[in-house]
């Protein structure tokens, strides 16, 4: 079976150790996590982990079930790229000399919909959000200026279907008995 990129959105409680437990499900199977982002959700005390992995469909279903078994995990959603809107954020630090290099930095920044975050005596800091390919492309164009530092965040994603998280969680609760 072919490996594909999947985005897992794991909805959890805010517990110490959950990250360890979640990452353990992947390390145990020798699966490399491509990116990981942890964030609050709109519901109090409910958190989301957004994890990007490359694997087969069969394996991603199994992994999702193992994740749902962890105590403190409410729900795991598995998406492929066309089911979600996703973004990453990248920061680029260039030497201040870049402004006078003769290449039109302003044009590059504009054409990439990037923006300048900070300018100091020694450096200029540029920010861009977008898909990995977009932030990577900008990095390539900035390379002639001598990029001092580059960093990219993990993916954050939202599913396209219009179903609120509250409804998903309610459905899950109702599928189980509690004694």
């Amino acid at each position: 079976m072919k490996e594909k990129l999947y985005t897992l959105i794991i909805v959890t409680e805010n517990n110490i150790g959950l990250l360890n437990h979640i990452s353990g499900v992947f390390t145990r199977r020798h699966i490399n996590i491509r990116s990981l982002t942890a964030s609050e959700s709109k519901i109090k005390n409910v958190y989301t982990f957004t994890i990007v992995i490359k694997m087969t469909n069969d394996l991603v279903r199994k992994v999702a079930k193992q994740l749902e078994k962890i105590i403190g995990v409410f729900k795991v959603f598995v998406y492929n790229d066309n089911e979600i809107i996703h973004q990453e954020l990248a920061l680029y630090k260039l030497p201040i000399s870049a402004i006078q290099s003769g290449i039109n930095l302003e044009k590059i920044v504009r054409s990439h919909n990037a923006r300048v975050l900070d300018i100091k005596d020694e450096y200029i800091l540029i920010e861009k959000t977008g898909h990995k390919e977009d932030t990577q492309k900008l990095l390539k164009e900035l390379e002639p200026f001598g990029v001092l530092q580059f960093i990219r965040s993990g993916r954050v994603a939202m599913a396209k279907p219009m179903k609120p998280l509250d409804d998903h969680l309610k459905e899950k609760e109702e599928a189980y008995d509690y004694f």
Partner: protein, 580 residues
């Protein structure tokens, strides 16, 4: 969303105390859960708990094993027989790490445990303090839940959660790691409320009636159906429901190692044990069945052999309480994520009365082959040396299925499973998924604590016996009348068997130069005897069974005996072999 993020507490069982220490809160929490027995080993960080235990006098019985691994295996067997979580105490560092094998064993065999470990004072966490290990980090992959308590006020709720998690849904081990300062703090008011719901934990899936109907439809149209019964039957207490279901549908029942007591072994529909060293008929017939109804079992690789050649003609109905087991190893046609008892009750009314005489006769034919080629020559051997099978068979004849049989891991384990005729539910304690050598002796001790009225007989090999042999002292100390049958072949027999079959008889590091086991047992205060001739076997066993104190019988058996039949590693179940 209020219910999502808060634990719902049961108002019926509230215990109130004022100004209690953290360690007293631990003891009070255990008492509130009805705990009257703990297996453990004291040490620095957990000393305050032992002090509280001491001050509570005889309310809770504590069994001092001779190693923490002994404590946890004893607790596992206690849990399996009593149906209540086994409770274990150990101190921080090495005390806690000595529990890891038992935690792993309990996790894979779905055994409810609540293990309490001491931990260094919270301000020293992460400073490599004396006897500090990151027990939460270590235990997370081998527990159902692991939680560190750093404040005394959190103790009651953590314990209530621990007991609920350990025993609900698919049971498993829980670890509570308590820092020493939390044990020494004072809580102004101690209040214990049992828990019946925990945020982010879903133990009991509702049984989907649509799936039940689909399953019933498949079953009603089956030509060659086969039931695979696992431990889920025992855990949910569905033995009667399974029997009723089998009686109505007439479908043959095979069992896993842990399902051996889920169905009466003398029932005409029982066709034997599955797996690598199981019975011939159910393994061969797995690949001829058209409908397989797997109940409370997880298609372990020791059951399936090569999964690509498993159940090749069958549509599989899988009933399991753990959704993660569905489609994990074997693709299912109908998945019923449910407690076994509930699913069987619902299924019962929808299935039609039936019988599969011809199909059942095919099993009987293969069973006859197995009897002729393997079973008879093993229980009535012509050889001079004693065979493991005949010893187990004779114990079975002499005890008539009444005692609890405990095993260690290896050839003797498979022989005990194959040749003992189990007649009652809850009669076998063994280490299945993890295959933990050294499990047997402490487990036998734990089993006896849970079952004062039944004899406990341990079958153990010379290898595994020496891994936890120090627990003989525990048996002596607490006067636990376990009967130990040591099947001694002076080899690590199962490994040697594989070396013989798959490594051209290169017996690397499997020969055992053993001590005088009789003297050792006597040194520990046990009665002991040795037998090496067939003519003396029955008397020796009878003498052991009649003993009212712990007794070791060393039976010298054939050195290079093998367990057959066998599904060679990586082969299909239907390629099971009867001889090398």
């Amino acid at each position: 969303m209020a219910t999502l993020t808060q634990t719902i507490k049961e108002k019926t069982a509230v215990v109130n105390h004022e100004n209690v220490s953290g360690s007293e809160a631990v003891v009070q929490s255990l008492l509130a859960e009805g705990v009257d027995l703990i297996f453990g080993y004291p040490g620095g960080a957990i000393m305050p708990v032992y002090d509280a235990l001491y001050q509570n006098g005889k309310k809770i019985n504590h069994i001092l094993t001779r190693h923490e691994q002994g404590a946890i295996h004893a607790a596992e067997a206690f849990a399996k027989i009593s149906g209540k979580p086994g409770v274990v105490f150990a101190t921080s560092g090495p005390g806690a790490t000595n529990l890891v094998t038992g935690l792993s064993n309990a996790k894979i065999d779905s055994t409810p445990l609540v293990c309490v470990t001491g931990q260094v004072t919270s301000n020293l966490l992460g400073f490599d303090a004396f006897q500090e290990t990151d027990m939460i980090g270590i235990s997370m992959p081998v527990t159902k839940w692991a939680y560190q308590i750093t404040k005394a006020e959190d103790i009651p709720e953590a314990f209530a959660k621990a007991f609920y998690i350990a025993s609900s849904g698919r049971p498993g081990p829980v670890l509570l790691d308590i820092t020493k300062d939390a044990l020494l703090q004072t809580i102004e008011s101690f209040k214990y409320e049992k828990v019946r719901r925990i945020s982010g934990y879903y133990p009991y899936p509702k049984t989907d009636m649509e799936k039940i109907r689909e399953a019933a439809n498949l079953i009603n149209n089956a030509k060659k159906p086969l039931i695979l019964a696992g431990q889920g039957i025992t855990i949910s207490g569905a033995e009667k429901e399974l029997e009723a279901f089998a009686n109505k549908t007439g479908i043959p029942v095979a069992s896993t190692l842990f399902g051996l007591t889920a169905f009466p072994s003398k029932h005409p529909l029982f066709v034997g044990m599955l797996g690598m060293h199981g019975n011939y008929a159910p393994n061969i017939k797995t690949n001829e069945a058209d409908i397989i109804i797997a109940i409370g079992m997880r298609f372990d690789d020791r059951v399936t052999g090569d999964t690509s050649k498993y159940a090749i003609k069958a549509q599989v109905i899988h009933i399991d309480i753990d959704a993660a087991e569905i489609d994990k190893n074997i693709k299912t046609k109908v998945a019923i994520v449910s407690d076994a008892k509930k699913a069987l009750e619902k299924l019962y009314s929808l299935v039609e009365k039936n019988n599969y005489e011809d199909w059942l006769n095919e099993f009987k034919e293969l069973a006859k082959t197995e009897i002729d080629v393997i079973i008879s020559p093993n229980i009535h051997p012509q050889s001079e040396s004693l065979k493991m099978a005949e010893v187990v068979h004779l114990v079975s004849e002499l005890t008539k299925g009444d005692p609890i049989i405990v095993t260690d891991v290896g050839q003797h384990q498979m022989m005990a499973a194959r040749y003992y005729k189990f007649m009652k539910p809850n009669s076998i304690i063994t280490s299945g998924g993890l295959g933990t050598m050294g499990f047997g002796l402490p487990a036998a001790i734990g089993a006896k604590f849970a079952s004062k009225n039944r004899d406990v007989i341990l079958f153990v090999g010379d290898g595994g016996f020496q891994m936890t042999i120090q627990e003989l002292a525990t048996a002596w100390h607490y006067k636990i009348p376990i009967k130990i049958v040591l099947l001694n072949n002076n080899f690590l027999g199962m490994v040697r068997q594989w070396q013989q079959l798959f490594f051209d008889k290169r017996y690397a590091c499997t020969t055992m130069h053993n001590p005088d086991f009789v003297k050792i047992a006597e040194g520990f205060g046990l009665k002991a005897a040795k037998v090496d001739e067939r003519k003396d076997l029955k008397n020796a066993l009878s003498e052991m069974l009649a003993s009212d104190t712990a007794y070791l019988l060393v039976v010298e058996v054939e050195k290079e005996g093998n367990v057959f039949p066998m599904v060679p590693s990586g082969a299909a179940v239907s390629d099971m072999i009867l001889k090398p």
